[in-house]
């Protein structure tokens, strides 16, 4: 099991290594200035050097990310269900969902601070705002895609709406729901960083801004690398969860995979 997982990792490791090598070579050969684009080796060295400073920032951002994503999950699932509840609610709420995504965070930053202060709350809200949208849309579309025959069957058994929802719609929508979660979680760390730009005294976003302002491009890239790593870890965790939660789904797909000449 674990060995299979590891075997699945090597293509990405190989490709990433290749890309990093290409990057290093390009920087060295083309003589790109390091304040513009540092090489991977420089970034690694800078990362080593910045590590003690970086750690508390990482911890802060991780907290914000997790709290914000939990909120997004809650809100996303809730709204996805609400939107599925009736076509009137759907018609009424959908445009608002779209609207919520069209307000640049920076434009409402002063409001956020005035309403929620400088604590963790505004960051959590920004993360949730950024992440919940794909979750809602995927959940709503997934719920809508439920097999009509399965619903009919439950209805003949006298199932209530909520039973139909729990026993058919929700399990049937799980694959789409996970797709939404995967998209959402990818945005979560960046969302936290954007949230920190609203006003914060620590966090990766703060680190990144300060490094940018000091023209320490290598440190900027260190914080990007950390962001990427955090995002990848969260994405990976969701993928594992998906596999576990959708065993039936993947077992029926697997049939197909060995059936197919790949």
């Amino acid at each position: 099991m674990i060995r299979r997982r590891l075997r699945q990792l090597w293509p990405s490791v190989a490709l990433c290594t290749a890309l990093l090598c290409g990057w290093q070579a390009a920087v060295n050969l083309l003589g790109v200035q390091d304040w513009l684009l540092p090489s991977p080796v420089q970034i690694a060295r800078a990362g080593w050097q910045a590590a003690p400073i970086l750690c508390p920032h990482i911890w802060e951002t991780t907290r914000e990310t997790l709290a914000g994503f939990a909120l997004a999950l809650f809100v996303g699932l809730g709204l996805g269900m609400l939107v599925d509840y009736s076509s009137t609610v759907r018609a009424a709420v959908y445009p608002l969902l779209v609207l919520s995504q069209t307000v640049p965070v920076i434009a409402i930053a002063p409001l956020l601070v005035i309403w929620f202060g400088y604590g963790i709350l505004p960051k959590v809200i920004v993360v949730a705002l950024v992440c919940f949208f794909p979750i809602v849309i995927n959940t709503a579309d997934g719920l809508q895609s439920t097999d009509a025959e399965q619903i009919a069957l439950l209805r003949t058994m006298g199932a209530t709406r909520s039973q139909i929802f729990r026993k058919v719609r929700l399990p049937g929508a799980l694959p789409a729901f996970f797709t939404g979660i995967k998209v959402g979680i990818t945005y979560s760390v960046v969302g936290a960083i954007m949230g920190e730009w609203v006003g914060a005294s620590s966090g990766l976003g703060v680190f990144m801004l300060r490094a940018t302002n000091s023209f320490r491009t290598d440190w900027v890239f260190v914080s990007i690398a950390v962001t990427a790593m955090l995002s990848l870890m969260l994405f990976g965790a969701v993928t594992l969860l998906e596999r576990a939660a959708l065993r039936w789904y993947w077992s029926s797909r697997r049939t197909e995979e060995w059936e197919e000449i790949r």
Binding site: W35, I106, I114, G199, S201, V206, R210, A211, N213, R216
Partner: protein, 301 residues
């Protein structure tokens, strides 16, 4: 006892830099605490956001610029400048030395990376007009994220820089810049940056402002006298900054905090009037503002 400290928030204009050294010195030395204040320093999403927060009164103090305060007051935003952090404008237009740009009229036919500040075109045109140039021939590009890299990368010919930061950085990196400083040119000098507070804050917590300024003044005076130690303190609070840059910048800026003023932080009515009238002339504001409401030295020690 710490439990009796009065909390207060001060919002910087941007990430910590040598403009802010005195604040951090006072914080580090415990001078705010001595005044009974628990000061929290925050970094906003952008300078205009800081100003709005201060105006709204939920952030007591902020760092802003004279032209911003003037603009804000003209639109009815109740903020007051209570101290000048640096006595003279350290802004400049910069070009790469290799570009051959030496004086304002050379700007013609070049591209300029703008911060989207309304004052930029006005200053540019005044400056060029004095030198017999026409700013209509300058190509403005609004760069929301960063202008200096664009200049150094050669993507634009001109950028607005701060001599005490970008200029120092260029020197350290061995980049030759041709600079046209604003201070001393035909454009009026103004205070940038300044410390601001909301009108309501001043009315309700005037004593707090006085105590904050008292500690802050000590901080800046220390920074004036001990550039190296002050730089180290700033670095302690902003360890992400480049130490070399901070030290060099501190050396540049320390003598300029007070400069020719009688004491640190003092603002002159003439400077406020001068900018206000000039901005009205330029059409940046509809009419000159009542400068006596826009700034005050009352809270300075």
């Amino acid at each position: 006892a710490p439990s009796t400290l009065e909390p207060a928030v001060l919002s910087l204009d941007w990430v910590p830099n040598t403009n802010h050294t005195g604040l951090y010195v006072a914080l580090e030395k415990g001078w705010y605490a001595e005044e009974g204040i628990d000061l929290q320093i925050q970094i906003p999403s952008d300078p205009s956001a800081a100003l709005k927060q201060v105006a709204a009164g939920n952030t007591e103090f902020g760092v802003s610029f004279q032209e911003e305060v003037t603009l804000a007051r003209s639109t009815g935003i109740p903020v007051v400048s209570i101290a000048a952090l640096v006595q003279h404008n350290t802004s400049a237009f910069a070009a790469l030395a290799s570009s051959g740009i030496e004086r304002p009229r050379d700007f013609q036919g070049h591209t300029y990376a703008s911060y989207s500040l309304p004052i930029e075109p006005a200053i540019m045109s005044s400056l060029m007009a004095c030198d017999g140039g026409d700013s209509a021939l300058v190509d403005f590009i609004d760069v929301g994220f960063d202008a200096f890299p664009a200049l150094v990368g050669g993507n634009v010919d001109l950028a607005w820089i701060f001599l005490g930061w970008d200029g120092v950085q260029a020197q350290l990196k061995g980049i030759d810049l041709a600079v046209v400083p604003l201070y001393g040119s035909c454009v009026p000098d103004y205070y940038t940056p300044v410390l601001i507070a909301g009108e309501t804050t001043l009315a309700d917590k005037g004593d707090l402002a006085r105590r904050v300024l008292s500690a802050t003044a000590r901080g800046y005076e220390y920074a004036i006298g001990h550039p190296d130690e002050a730089a180290d303190i700033l670095l302690k609070y902003s360890p992400e900054s480049d130490p070399e840059l901070v030290r060099a910048s501190q050396a540049y800026l320390s003598p300029r905090y007070q400069d020719d003023a009688a004491s640190w932080g003092v603002q002159e009515r003439g400077v406020w009037e001068g900018l206000s009238e000039w901005m009205a002339d330029q059409g940046l504001i509809e009419r000159p503002i009542a400068v006596d409401e826009a700034f005050t030295n009352e809270y300075l020690p």
